[in-house]
Symmetry: C2
């Protein structure tokens, strides 16, 4: 009667004592158009590892108390990752910054989760894939300091085995979005402006398109509200050349620190009451709902047998669910909820 939804399709990870120079398979150059070290795979890995170092340094410098704990892991068949988590710091309650390189085989079910637009009636077979990404969620303690999430990833599938000559697919995905419990307009404007500046260097259509995509993506359908106040989000992006998109993803990831850290600087020490803390905890509950029910990366990771602790580090340290909580109309809590229900143009 119980149906196991699908067996893990990637091997169990094993801890490593040292960071390797690369998590790529040595044989990867057979598949790449370029030499190994210049391949998009290799340069994407280098980029996300540099971003991980930079973001963790900036977080530790501002926290002045918490230190990241690092876990390095690999898989026998290739790939692995570096998970860094700062828990119960002075400023951040939980901050996770992870990179991973995955060689796997998608079960048809996970392929649908990763690629809902291709969810047709044809039953696809298992599809070998390569995925590299950086993923981070930063949950501060102070209820006036917003949560930040960012994730940039590069994805390739192998050519289908039963269709000789059919091309491999590749795409970029990612985004950066802000989830405050209270609105400070200047903060939200600053955050969105930073995203827009980066987008505008590439294509004037990017910011409006990816801002809307973000509002659409982080939608908690059963609540009729968004998780937070958005930012940018894109997925399955392959309508530019790989060089341009690699460069775009890199600049987006490098925008994280200037877009976010100044906001935390301003809010981390603001006095607050139990009421503020309780509202933050309720919004953290919504964060959990989105991530466990809708988030593509989370559901994909859970279905493919990814490293659970790395995937679920996105969940807040603590969260709260009150029955039928309704903020008083016109209150600060109500204003936040209204902006989650009716997305606004911030700039």
């Amino acid at each position: 009667k119980m149906k196991a939804s699908s067996s893990p399709m990637i091997e169990k990870e094993t801890p490593e004592t040292q960071r390797p120079n690369t998590f790529l398979r040595e044989t990867d150059d057979n598949h790449s158009q370029n030499s190994n070290s210049n391949s998009v795979r290799a340069r994407f890995e280098k980029m996300i590892r540099e971003v991980q170092d930079g973001v963790c340094s900036a977080i530790e410098a501002m926290d002045q108390g918490g230190k990241f704990k690092e876990d390095v892991w690999s898989r026998p068949g290739g790939g692995g990752g570096i998970s860094r988590v700062l828990q119960d710091g002075a400023v951040w309650e939980k901050a996770g910054v992870n990179i991973s390189i995955v060689y796997g085989v998608m079960p048809p079910e996970a392929y649908r989760a990763a690629n809902p637009s291709q969810n047709g009636n044809t039953e696809p077979g298992p599809v070998p894939f390569f995925a590299a990404g950086i993923s981070s969620v930063l949950h501060p303690k102070n209820p006036f300091a917003p949560t930040l999430h960012f994730n940039y990833r590069y994805f390739e599938t192998d050519a289908p085995k039963d269709t000789p000559g059919a091309p491999r697919q590749w795409w970029f995905g990612g985004g950066t979005d802000l989830t405050p419990a209270y609105i400070f307009e200047e903060d939200i404007k600053h955050f969105h402006s930073a995203q827009k500046s980066t987008c505008d260097k590439f294509d004037a259509s990017f910011y409006p398109r990816f801002k809307k995509w973000c509002d659409d993506y982080f939608y908690i359908k059963h609540r009729g509200e968004r998780r937070g106040l958005g930012g940018i989000f894109f997925d399955d992006l392959n309508d530019y050349d790989q060089e341009t998109l690699l460069s775009f993803a890199t600049e987006c990831a490098n925008t994280v620190i200037p877009a976010y850290i100044p906001i935390i600087e301003k809010r981390k020490d603001m006095p607050f009451t139990d009421r503020h803390k309780s509202w933050q905890q309720l919004r953290r509950g919504r964060y959990v709902e989105f991530n466990l029910v809708y988030d593509r990366g989370t559901t994909f990771g859970l279905k493919t047998g990814g490293r659970i602790e790395s995937i679920l580090v996105s969940l807040p340290l603590t969260a709260r669910w009150e029955y039928d909580h309704q903020p008083e109309e016109g209150s600060e809590e109500w204003k936040l909820l209204d902006a989650c229900i009716n997305p606004k143009e911030w700039i």
Copy 2:
């Protein structure tokens, strides 16, 4: 790019000021084999409303502080429910006891969630259904006092419109299960013995079969562990006559109070430390993971547009996620986790 997974297929609920005598449609007797008041639908509704009253009285009597808040609601096309929630009481942090009657049309997607064994390649059309059930989750404050969940439901689908003469389907489902953060063997034995006694009145095969089904059902696949220490669970039960199964569901529901309340009596005032509370909160996090990712009732409710506050009242008031938490081998926390990973025979 964003695919709305499916539109709500049942109408929006509206609040009622009074409890109606029945939530059934007046036209229901056209569909029933018996007269209206003797139909299985009618008798099942009567049973779950009596059980709701009984359980709420027992909870309030023991809590000696908290009172249930009641919300009555209905839908224009028929059906409705009574939600009762006691929040922040003396003994219980959050206790929800809900009954509902739903007339709806299942989107194919929800039909699959409700009925995974029939998940084939044929794309079913929308299926009209009737569902009645009682659902309850009781989360105590004291970390030595276990959480209880029970749910009993009766389900009918209309005959498929495109297949004249094809029969309607009906089935019973439900169960009662216990989720402690710490093991007191006498408590778990008492709880399972109560389930077994009730099962044995009907069929000696019921307890072993439904005990295993419960262990299998409440499995958090991505963790490789169960939510708690089980009890009984069954679904799609229609291999006995309706009278027998109605009687069985009734006796199971009437077993809730004697199986659970004596345990709370013993544990509600036990002294505890921050360590105990923190472990309880981590286990509550697992509860959230199971309910949002795997629970059939929750995912079915979210997909069909059920009353969100009633569905999610099962979530604890507070929960916690620590990165890579591992209880020390041999500790009390480890023993609980071990029993969640390796289900035991308690009697």
